[in-house]
């Protein structure tokens, strides 16, 4: 397909090799450190699962919490974001464009500032402030733009506009058109948006660290705690758990992207 370069490029190769080692070595070291008995001795001390067991005992609840909040973020951005994406794809008004711009601001603003703002306005409501709902709200604010942008781009496709118009002239109601024609047509984009939102939510730290309480900890919050206060083996094992949670989702995203490319060619 694309003509590939065959001429040797020693400088580019050297840079690529150095960058690859720099990026991949820590991941490998971390995986090893979480599975050996003693980090200072290294592999000679033997492999063990005791650090993983310790992580599960101390921080097991954070895994469930992160997964639940991730699922909650996906559900919320679906319900809020898909109809909103439809409106942004169809409307020509200036208000719609302005809303679209404003909607991307939480991504540009540091998560720290958004968290401060939320605490400022809602910090006094004790039951809300101390619940997982507070963290969920922060995550939804941060991930909503990603869902809206992905789905909105799909709604704008020309063949979809034609399809919708055809359904309308044949007498379908709006609900029938939306649920029966539009949503199935943009389904790959919706799935991509869901996976993206889930990944972002699992890895979110800047917002969550400010919003959390000792009783409402997520995986990244637990990671920060373990790096500061636990042995390097425990921190590494916990990192391993994080990788085990996030890698399947990323692979699913990549497989979906490849399948979409085959189908639509962009």
């Amino acid at each position: 397909m694309r003509p590939t370069a065959t001429a040797p490029a020693p400088l580019l190769f050297a840079v690529t090799f150095a960058v690859a080692v720099f990026m991949i070595a820590p991941i490998l070291i971390s995986v090893m450190a979480g599975l050996v008995l003693n980090y200072s001795t290294g592999l000679k001390s033997g492999l063990t699962l005791r650090w993983l067991a310790q992580v599960w005992e101390t921080y097991g609840d954070t895994v469930g919490a992160s997964l639940l909040i991730g699922a909650g973020s996906v559900a919320a951005t679906l319900v809020l974001g898909v109809p909103c994406a439809y409106m942004l794809a169809r409307s020509r008004s200036r208000a719609a464009r302005a809303f679209e711009e404003v909607l991307t601001l939480p991504v540009a603003v540091p998560g720290l500032a958004t968290a401060l703002a939320l605490i400022l306005v809602y910090g006094q409501m004790a039951s809300f402030r101390q619940s997982f709902g507070f963290i969920l709200v922060g995550h939804v604010v941060f991930t909503l733009p990603f869902m809206v942008r992905t789905v909105s781009a799909a709604f704008q496709r020309d063949e979809l506009v034609a399809l919708e118009e055809a359904a309308r002239t044949l007498g379908a109601s709006f609900r029938q058109r939306f649920l029966g024609v539009l949503v199935p047509a943009v389904f790959p984009a919706i799935v991509a948006g869901c996976l993206m939102v889930f990944t972002l939510s699992i890895g979110e730290f800047n917002l969550t660290w400010m919003l959390h309480t000792p009783l409402t900890r997520t995986l990244p919050v637990g990671l920060a705690d373990s790096y500061a206060s636990m042995r390097i083996e425990v921190g590494s094992a916990y990192t391993l758990v994080f990788l085990a949670v996030i890698l399947p989702v990323l692979w699913a995203l990549q497989a979906l992207a490849a399948a979409l490319q085959k189908r639509y060619g962009t």
Binding site: A20, M23, I29, A117, F174, F205, A228
Partner: protein, 274 residues
Amino acid sequence: MTASARSIGAPRWLLAACAAPAFAFFAAFWLLPVARLVALPAEKGWATYFVVVTDGRYLQSMVNTLLLSLVVTAATLVLGGAVGIYLARRRFAGRRVLLSLLTLPLSFPGVIVGFFVILLGGRQGLVPNLGASVGLQGLTFAYGLLGLFLAYLYFSLPRAIATYTAAAEAMDMQLEEAARALGASRVRITKDVWLPQLAPTSVATGAILFSTAMGAFGTAFTLASKYEVVPITIYNEFTNYANFALAASLSIALGLVTWAVLFAARLTVGARPT
């Protein structure tokens, strides 16, 4: 094209109803709170807004953050560009796995990146251990400026590699072949063929990299570096001194400085004839 696009799909009121829940949620949980945050420093007096320039400590922190972000962005663009160009045009076994591994850190929270730098250069780290085995002492770099820089580089490179690989794949090979046939040196090809074609990608990616670096918190937090960046200052003011108004003022300053640099970059790029 579709002249009657506004009438397709649904009447105006129905479209508004589609967006209303999202708008209500966004107004309640972002617009209103951020507006309150922006107004907060005024409660302690108008001078609070300018504390980033009047207080030497905060000014130093802002300068630190700005310098670090600029240098990291420049280094990432160069290194990411080189890797992207190399990987886009070569096919070898394991290429896709390599690309997946290189872009995997995009999903990491900053704390993991800080931990990785400690694994590489902390007291029990790989580099100090290797150095000690050949007789070099004191190669611990994780807790100083070098460690912070490498950590920021670590979380920035995946994004640059991802975008440059895609952009380099779309580069016109014919231009490059023609240049080579006319006898252009490698430097010439880089300057006159590669850089102009990759310029839009560089600007867009550079903007994202810079904004991310300016607002990064988790990485500096894990490294507990002496080189203080503004997000850490904001965190300290709020958590240790319960100084809400000051934290708000610094947040606004951080946002403004980030926006100003991006604005200046857009102007300089826009002024160049393409």
